[in-house]
């Protein structure tokens, strides 16, 4: 395995092209659920789990069904359907086997279906790793890795943001800028800090 490509996917997905801060994917949930640390972390974990699994499943669909039959134009429909049913399935399984886990994560799962980050990573994988010259094994590993790291990047930013917003409760922010506006401005400044990572080479 090419170590340089490996590292660049990891650093790329977590820092350089962080889904929230530079691609704006999953922004709605980011603004909505980052008011407190605990829910933010649970949401992050759920998202990571789903992006990883969704990357693997959509890879299989793209590689074994869409590409061989030349029906790539069905990508959007098939991906979103698979993601939606997968999330539903996870919800049912968790509900069946662990009530405690369901109580903590349950309310976040339906939200994930319409989280752009999940479909985003699936579409991005299919565009990044299915060019000519990349073999099947690489594209599978890279897709799964990218799915996982996108989730990690999501957790990282959620963690920072929720910490900051908990602290903001005590700050004298202009009234019109409370909640969403200040969250966007902080996200802007965080995005600026993350830009220090641009141009990484391995």
């Amino acid at each position: 395995m090419d170590l340089a490509m490996f590292l660049s996917v990891i650093i790329g997905a977590i820092f350089v092209n962080n889904f929230i801060l530079s691609k704006f994917l999953g922004l709605c949930s980011f603004i909505g659920i980052s008011k407190e640390t605990k829910p933010a972390i649970y949401m992050g974990i759920s998202v990571t789990f789903v992006t990883t699994c969704a990357s693997i499943i959509t890879w299989a669909i793209y590689n074994f069904i869409l590409v061989p039959f030349h029906i790539e134009y069905l990508r959007t429909i098939s991906f979103i359907l698979v993601i939606a049913s997968f999330v539903q399935l996870v919800e049912i399984v968790i509900k069946k086997f662990s009530q405690a886990l369901y109580r903590t994560l349950g309310i976040y799962l339906p939200l994930i279906t319409v989280n752009c980050a999940v479909l985003g990573v699936a579409v991005l994988n299919s565009e990044m790793f299915f060019k000519r010259g990349i073999n099947t094994l690489t594209s599978f590993t890279m897709s799964a890795l990218q799915g996982f790291c996108v989730g990690l990047g999501y957790i990282l930013v959620m963690l920072f943001m929720s910490g900051i917003r908990e602290r903001l409760e005590l700050c004298d922010i202009p009234k019109s800028f409370k909640d969403a506006p200040i969250a966007f401005i902080i996200a802007s400044l965080m995005s600026m800090a993350f830009m220090g990572f641009s141009g990484f080479r391995f």
């Binding site: 801060l21 530079s22 922004l27 999940v118 985003g120 400044l189």
Partner: protein, 199 residues
């Protein structure tokens, strides 16, 4: 008749999806680097909204309640695919500029939100006007954001050079600029409406 007008105009003003409901942000921020891109995305999303709202409203009585969300998603995804293919064929430049954000209209919370909150309960005409209003409101917000970003970040509007002898502020062309613009806009709108209320 009055009610129908209200359905149309609420999307533009009091329930503007971006500034008021804070929904559908990913495309609003990601593609708003130029007015042309913003307009393209706005029209594409409006088309999907309109199509899916009409269809869902038409067949709302036949959709079983338990599986309504998957049904909505299939209908929405169909319209998104139509837009995707049409854009690739007739506006390849725009399609390239908007990139993965065209397929991502599927998960745009506005579209699913309107299906769930409005189209599956109301008749076709009302749903149509609701979709049009939301679409116009979304497009208007996109135009505003992208006009600010293009003007400050590139000194141009619709590609024409407006600000001469001006060093463009690159910040607004990049990701942080988008977040800043929307933060300041929402804050500004809050401020103006709170002022109006107290006056």
């Amino acid at each position: 008749m009055k009610k129908l007008f209200k359905e149309f105009f609420k999307g533009i003003g009091s329930e503007n999806p971006i500034f008021r409901l804070v929904l559908g942000l990913c495309p609003a921020l990601a593609v708003s680097t130029s007015v042309v891109n913003g307009l393209g995305m706005g029209i594409a999303a409006t088309f999907v909204l309109l199509g899916s709202n009409i269809i869902i409203s038409l067949i709302r009585k036949f959709i079983p309640d338990q599986i309504r969300i998957p049904c909505f998603i299939v209908i929405i995804a169909t319209f998104v695919t139509i837009v995707e293919l049409a854009m690739k064929a007739y506006a390849p430049e725009l399609s390239k500029a908007l990139g993965i954000f065209v397929p991502l209209i599927v998960v745009n919370c506005i579209v699913l939100g309107r299906a769930e909150a409005f189209a599956c309960k109301e008749d076709v005409l009302a749903s149509m006007l609701d979709a049009l209003g939301m679409g116009v409101g979304f497009t208007f917000a996109l135009l505003l954001i992208s006009a600010i970003r293009e003007l400050l970040g590139n000194g141009t509007f619709l590609g024409f050079l407006i600000l001469k002898n001006f060093d463009p502020i690159l910040y607004f062309m990049l990701a942080p600029g988008a977040l800043l613009v929307i933060g300041l806009l929402i804050g500004g709108i809050n401020f103006l409406s709170s002022k109006r209320r107290s006056a």
